[in-house]
Amino acid sequence: MIGLEETEPFWMVEWNWALDGWIVAAGMLCAVASSLLGCFLVLRRMSLLGDAISHAVLPGLAAAFLISGSRSSGWMFLGAVIVGVLTALLSDWIHVRGEVDEGASMGVVFTTLFAAGLVMIVLAADKVDLDPGCVLYGAIESTPLDTWAVPIPILGSTDVPRVVVVLSIVTLINAAFVILFFKELKMATFDAELATSSGFSAKAIHYVLMTLVAVTAVASFESVGNILVVAMLVVPAATAYLLTDRLGMMIVLACVIGAACAWAGHVAAVEIPTWFGFRSTTTAGMMAVATGFAFTLAVVASPRRGLIPQLCRKHWLRWTILTDDVLALLYRMEEKTLDERPIADAMAMQADLDAWMADVLLTNRFAIKSAVKYHAWRGRIETTQVEASTSTAKVEDQSETLVPKLTDVGRTEAESLVRSHRLWEQYLVTRVDLEGSRIHQKAHQLEHFTDRQLQDQLDHQTDSPEKDPHGSPIPSASDKQS
């Protein structure tokens, strides 16, 4: 391994452009062609159509083979596409006419067709050399073996694998469809009635989409395998859906993710088994697994919807609310001491300030301690040492205790919070006619999201009251706050 690492990075090991290059190219083309349509399938909740079609085409393949008597890809392609489109139409028909659940009608159609195909192949086995496994799980590894001479303008006639040519054409068709009919597709996907009322048929778009899915599925699975096209139709699109809210962006992202997974999948298929002493394995399967990894990554870490960012945001919100509450609580305690004696005296009856605050704010001592520390760091609170024994006889611990005290900065901020709270209470009573017992709870929630402008508005709406409904004074607006 050390020797390898020194010569080349691991992803370049045994890399042969004539072989691996074409395999990756085929995978990427399949990924792009599928992702283009897959976005619409995912949005229209028809994700499993690709799976259904790629299984159901088996009798079409068998019939085409029996009729034409050859494995020429033209006939097989035609047969498969016809049956593929039929599958989509038939499940739609059963769904609408028989009032059968959408998924169930799809399940009925594709399993029955697949079974019919299997039986056809077995019964005709004397004449037919058609292995269902081979048909359905077509080997992407054999891509470079079957080539066509393609005249390319600058390079002249070049040998290009047939698969790559076919998939390029399909990709171009899909791209042209998506680009030309982008507006129509978008409308038909999000609001079919609007599409119909603005003068084009959402149904027609639907059927063209189904036909293209069938063509893509057939073109892909006979070359790169059934499983890859099913994965590429759904997973990159779903991944992109987690990352963005814009359709155009979603399509671009899906194509990029799909292509990247195709490349990563091939590298992994070549590389990973060798770590355990095996030869390289199925590239198509590994490409599907790679899309699975991309999806998992998006689920966990997508900036806006990922589980981890969501968790962080939730904790951050909880933390800001807690620090606000601590500040406001200290202010209220200060307020309660009628004369100018320090807060420590108000606390005298509370043997353990942290525990008491934790109790009031429904949290634990550790959270209170860290909130106080945070405020001290920001200069909103200073902690003074008070000899506990002088203020109360109850305290068993004779040592000095640290008592938090608001600084001027902290007091201004706390004033603003308490002002918001009490203004809200006043507003809720005078304007919303809420019961007195319920206003505290509401105001407690709203105070954290009230900025200066809203404060002024509330003040104005409630005719600049001096006291809140409970009779506590409302702190005046300080000019230091912006």
Partner: protein, 444 residues
């Protein structure tokens, strides 16, 4: 060949007997469970599950073979399949709850990614020195022929357990399918019940793999239940029918596979149930296509008849001195084509509602027709009156609304309308046409 056929049919061979018995039990259990998954709109969960089982099978095989055991023993493989199937279900639930991805995409993701991984591992299994993976292929297409008696017993017993669970928890599962929120409010542990149902689905799918294959095991869960739905609206009967269809399908499929070992049993099972679906789809007594078409036709005919009678009544009402109504007047009154009007008139005439003159161009109501027409017109106007007075809808617009609903008004509703509109009805008990003066020509 005939001898072999006889051997299978008469169940002489002990192994065949047990295998067919096992398959039948499987079909019964799958039909039963399928009803619940279908009604819960989770028909395709089995599909994702079956595909998700493949990596488990491959890993179990690799592991046990590497440990020196027989990697192809069914209990080992099924244990692996169950574990990875559970992982698949968990992934689906996490994706659905934790992200904004919808159910179908979640199924597609789990299906393709797990299956890709499975193919990957099978590819590796192929490379193992003593890893002849021949037995594993039968999981993809299903082969009852390769089952031995002990496998069949395993399947039969597992199916029996599923049946017992479904029957035991029938009421709970029923509530879960029809009204999950209600079940929750009644204090049922909804999440637990859901998990129980899904576990039963997992078990059915896994034991079905051997007999039907992982591509087609979904059919066992979907097709019998979907077929049974065409025949009845009652869950109990649906379950009975569904189990019967599943059982017959599995019996025929397994028997065919026993006769012709080359024939994939899964395909035969699915085709048999598929025929059952086709028949149910067309002739199902409750929701079949034919019965529905017939119902629609008879409804349309009765609507046409009611429109005709009301039209005639109103024409006679506006001019009490006239004796008959002409063809042209009727054509003008409604947007009926000549052909359709002729048909409606013929039907009404043969039913004795109207009388025609010899040229069949002039029509009048019979005694019986008149009282019926009066009833219908009254119903229509009552509803119009109700809309005008109690729903504040402009008189110009009520005709359409009343047109749509008058055909389905029950006598009780009419009585209710009467008592509600007592003040407006006045002496005649027949409401006047709200369009008569203000909007003449709109309705006519």
């Amino acid at each position: 060949m005939t001898e072999q056929l006889w051997r299978v049919i008469s169940l002489q061979d002990h192994n065949t007997r047990v295998v067919i018995f096992g398959a039948a039990m499987l079909g019964l259990a799958a039909g039963l469970v399928g009803c619940f998954t279908l009604l819960r709109r989770r028909a395709l969960v089995g599909d994702a599950l079956a595909h998700a089982a493949l990596p488990g099978i491959a890993i179990a095989f690799l592991w046990v073979t590497a440990m020196g055991g027989d990697g192809r023993s069914l209990p080992v493989l099924l244990a692996g399949a169950t574990v990875s199937g559970m992982f698949g279900i968990a992934s689906i639930l996490i994706i659905r709850r934790g992200t904004r991805i919808k159910e179908d995409a979640a199924l597609g993701i789990v299906l393709s990614v797990f299956f890709g991984l499975g193919l990957e591992l099978l590819g590796i299994a192929q490379q193992m020195k003593n890893g002849n993976k021949a037995g594993l292929e039968s999981f993809i297409y299903g082969k009852t022929a390769s089952m031995v008696a002990s496998d069949a017993w395993l399947i039969a017993i597992a199916s029996l357990i599923c049946v017992v669970i479904c029957v035991g928890l029938f009421k709970e599962f029923k509530l879960l399918c029809f009204d999950e929120a209600f079940a929750g409010s009644r204090g049922y542990p909804v999440v637990l019940l859901d998990a129980a149902l899904m576990s039963v689905v997992v078990v059915i799918t896994i034991i079905g793999l051997q007999a039907v294959g992982l591509v087609l095991v979904i059919a066992l869960l979907v097709i019998p239940a979907a077929s049974a739905r065409f025949w009845t609206d009652r869950l109990v009967w649906m379950m009975v029918l569904s189990s019967a269809i599943g059982m017959v399908g599995c019996l025929v499929g397994a028997a065919a596979s026993a006769m012709l070992p080359r024939l994939p049993s899964g395909a035969m099972i699915v085709l048999t149930t598929g025929v059952g679906f086709l028949i149910s789809f067309f002739v199902g007594a409750r929701r079949g296509l034919l019965i529905r078409m017939w119902r629609r036709r008879s409804l349309n005919a009765s609507i046409d008849r009611q429109h005709l009678l009301r039209e005639l009544y109103e024409l006679f009402e506006t001019d009490p001195s006239r004796l008959s109504v002409s063809w042209d007047e009727l054509v003008q009154a409604r947007s009926w084509s000549n052909k359709r009007l002729r048909k409606i008139l013929e039907q009404a005439s043969s039913d004795g509602w109207i009388s025609e003159n010899i040229t069949k161009m002039e029509f009048a109501l019979t005694k019986r027709g008149e009282s019926e027409a009066r009833r219908l017109t009254r119903r229509h106007r009552l509803w119009e009156l109700y809309l005008i007075h109690h729903a504040d809808i402009a008189p110009q617009r009520v005709d359409r609304d009343a047109d749509a609903i008058e055909h389905v008004l029950e006598p009780e509703t009419v009585a209710e309308l009467e008592s509600l509109l007592n003040a407006e009805l006045g002496e005649r008990r027949m409401p006047t046409d709200p369009h008569a003066s203000s909007t003449e020509g709109v309705e006519a």
